[in-house]
């Protein structure tokens, strides 16, 4: 018997933080414009020693204003998607659940687009208007997961196959609506197809990073309070209830918080698929499936995976950028099929 301890949690998290740091350094180094880490370190050192008045403006602009914000966005979005995926897997008792596979990302996308369309017609202050897209994405995500949940329920129990099928159908239905909107409306929806594939390249307003970061901490924190309950929920709702889980409350908290995470991520980066699927599985394989460690380690793992995928996306054919969603789907879709087949056999 080797029960979970706080020490083990810290150890596992430190390992991942270390890996994340290495990935961030790699992400800082590689890009369309080559940066020598040695030269950067040397210059920083000279500046610190006062031997140089300032740093080359290239460093300031490229690293500080472009790469670091993008890496930060990758960290928050990756962690959000991964935690959302982990939560949906527990909530729906389905190891193949993922915001993208279930159509939740598509719902959030549609919500964002509707908010974009509605924005000019509402007379609200710019500050409120900037919240409209995340709000639309959250509502879209929430409505979709509710629909998928009810489609997937048969005789009070969630049926795994029906659930995935429901997700696929809802996803294609929503993308049809998006196509319809993009075909009929012109103008401000330009570039949406690019955004829909997943995009981290657009730096956000400073306040948006605060908004995202705080939103992530609140939602992920709320989910973490139910971590022990989620462990039991995996054995079935009835069984969890008999073991002392307040199932309706946990379901509500996780449902709202996971929708919020998906909505936040999608509203800034579009529908990046499979991060919420691959990462929790990899983490479970390495560190076990106890949600008290799984949630924080999956968050870190998601950050690592997305920052890495985005570094690939911007360097493979630099300076032309590939959609980061295309990179994650290239890796994720085969893995999804592998998991599906292993589950069926």
């Amino acid at each position: 018997m080797r029960p979970l301890t706080l020490r083990r949690l810290f150890l596992e998290c430190s390992i991942l933080v270390l890996i994340l740091f290495v990935v961030v350094v790699i992400a800082v180094k590689f890009g369309a414009v080559p940066v020598s880490l040695y030269a950067l370190g040397r210059d920083l050192w000279h500046v610190l020693l006062g031997q140089r008045a300032d740093l080359s403006s290239d460093y300031v602009l490229i690293i500080k204003n472009i790469r670091l914000p993008r890496i930060l966005l990758g960290i928050i979005v990756g962690a959000s998607l991964s935690v959302a995926g982990t939560s949906f897997q527990a909530l729906l008792r389905n190891p193949l659940a993922d915001p993208y596979v279930l159509g939740v990302s598509m719902g959030a996308s549609l919500g964002s687009i509707l908010a974009l369309i509605a924005e000019p017609h509402l007379s609200i202050s710019p500050a409120l208007a900037s919240l409209l897209t995340p709000l639309g994405a959250f509502l879209g995500a929430g409505a979709t997961i509710a629909a998928v949940y009810f489609l997937g329920r048969r005789e009070g129990q969630i049926d795994s196959a029906t659930l995935l099928l429901g997700g696929v159908i809802i996803s294609s239905f929503l993308s049809a609506i998006i196509m319809f909107l993009m075909n009929t409306l012109s103008g401000n929806l330009r570039g949406l197809s690019f955004w829909l594939m997943g995009d981290l390249s657009t730096p956000l307003q400073k306040s948006a990073y605060w908004f995202l970061g705080i939103g992530f901490l609140l939602a992920a924190g709320a989910i973490y309070t139910t971590a022990a309950d989620l462990n039991l929920l995996l054995s079935g709702e009835k069984e969890a209830m008999h073991l002392g889980v307040d199932v309706p409350r946990v379901r509500l908290v996780v449902y709202i918080a996971a929708s919020l995470l998906t909505g936040l991520a999608v509203s800034v980066s579009g529908a990046i698929g499979y991060v919420g699927l691959i990462v929790p599985h990899a983490i479970r394989f390495i560190f076990g499936s106890d949600h008290r460690t799984l949630l924080p380690t999956a968050a870190l793992g998601g950050a690592i995976a997305l920052v890495f995928a985005d570094t690939l996306a911007r360097t493979i054919v630099a300076p032309t950028e590939v959609s980061v969603g295309a990179v994650t789907a290239l890796v994720g879709a085969p893995l999804f099929i592998y998991l599906l087949r292993r589950r069926l056999s």
């Binding site: 979970l4 706080l6 008792r93 139910t226 022990a228 054995s235 073991l243 307040d246 199932v247």
Partner: protein, 284 residues
């Protein structure tokens, strides 16, 4: 609440209530319908029974007689249409899930795991209701889980994976998890369903010993006439949503009554232990 104080409470209650009624089911009824506008698909007519600490109650009846429904009403998972279920004087339905899980443990027919877990991890789940939500398992929790595994004779299974052990072993681990809850009331739904004879006897022997040692009140749903006769202190005989009789096996096991309930010719004789024994007569 620490395990120590829980244990103290347990002992105090056990002593005080040794001869008192622990579980009291009072005129409980239930109706299930898929559509409220239509006549209910299934009803359970008003049922009453009482059980003391250390007592084993068997709910007996053929399929679709309402056995499991009655068990779920007792567990608080279902809300009764009328009547109430009291545990030590508290209505089980109105307890929070946490408090209820500290007092009532339920062993389901089958426990499906989504991701593989080791037996000890599984048993530790029983400590959930005794922990604060974000706490990790304490030394006490680990000790209680170890004891629970030992009590059902499954200490050696501790590090095995749940999906790699036999049905009988699995059933023992599930029972150990229920014991780790340190309940007052232990509810079992067809615990012997998929077990061979030896495993059935082993499990029920363990159950009788545990009920006597820990003063659990045990309610078992079964359709195994002889196992109920052998191990139960009280038998609740059910048929088509009605409770026909409640009483000790000797008073329930009458040939005409059982033949009518189970729709098959059988003979009843008194065994050497003073408990009735049923033989199903085939082919007449």
């Amino acid at each position: 609440m620490s395990a120590g104080s829980a244990h103290a409470r347990h002992l105090a209650e056990a002593g005080r209530l040794a001869n008192e009624i622990r579980l009291s089911v009072e005129q409980v009824s239930y109706a299930y319908s898929a559509n409220p506008a239509q006549a209910p698909l299934f009803t359970l007519e008003a049922t009453s029974l009482q059980a003391r600490p250390g007592e084993i109650v068997a709910i007996l009846g053929p399929n679709a007689s309402g056995k499991s429904t009655l068990l779920h009403l007792i567990s608080g998972a279902l809300a009764p249409l009328s009547g109430r279920v009291l545990l030590n004087g508290f209505v089980t339905q109105s307890l929070t899930p946490r408090t209820r899980a500290q007092r009532i443990a339920v062993v389901q027919q089958e426990s499906a795991l989504l991701f593989p877990a080791r037996a000890w991890e599984f048993v530790l789940q029983g400590r959930h209701s005794h922990r604060r939500s974000l706490r990790f398992e304490s030394e006490d929790d680990v000790l209680i889980a170890k004891n629970a595994l030992a009590q059902v004779g499954a200490a050696d299974l501790s590090d095995r994976w749940m999906n790699q052990i036999s049905g009988g072993e699995k059933q023992r681990v599930i029972l150990a998890r229920a014991l780790a809850q340190q309940p007052l009331l232990l509810l079992l739904d067809e615990p012997t369903l998929h077990l061979d004879i030896a495993a059935q006897i082993g499990l029920l022997d363990a159950l009788r010993r545990l009920a006597a040692e820990n003063r659990y009140t045990v309610v078992v749903v079964t359709h195994e006439l002889n196992l109920a006769a052998e191990y139960a202190d009280q038998v609740v005989l059910m048929q088509r949503g009605r409770c026909l009789r409640v009483g000790p096996p000797a008073s329930i096991y009458q040939r005409e009554l059982l033949e009518q309930v189970f729709q098959t010719p059988l003979s009843v004789e008194l065994g050497s232990s003073g408990r009735p024994r049923v033989t199903v007569l085939s082919g007449t």
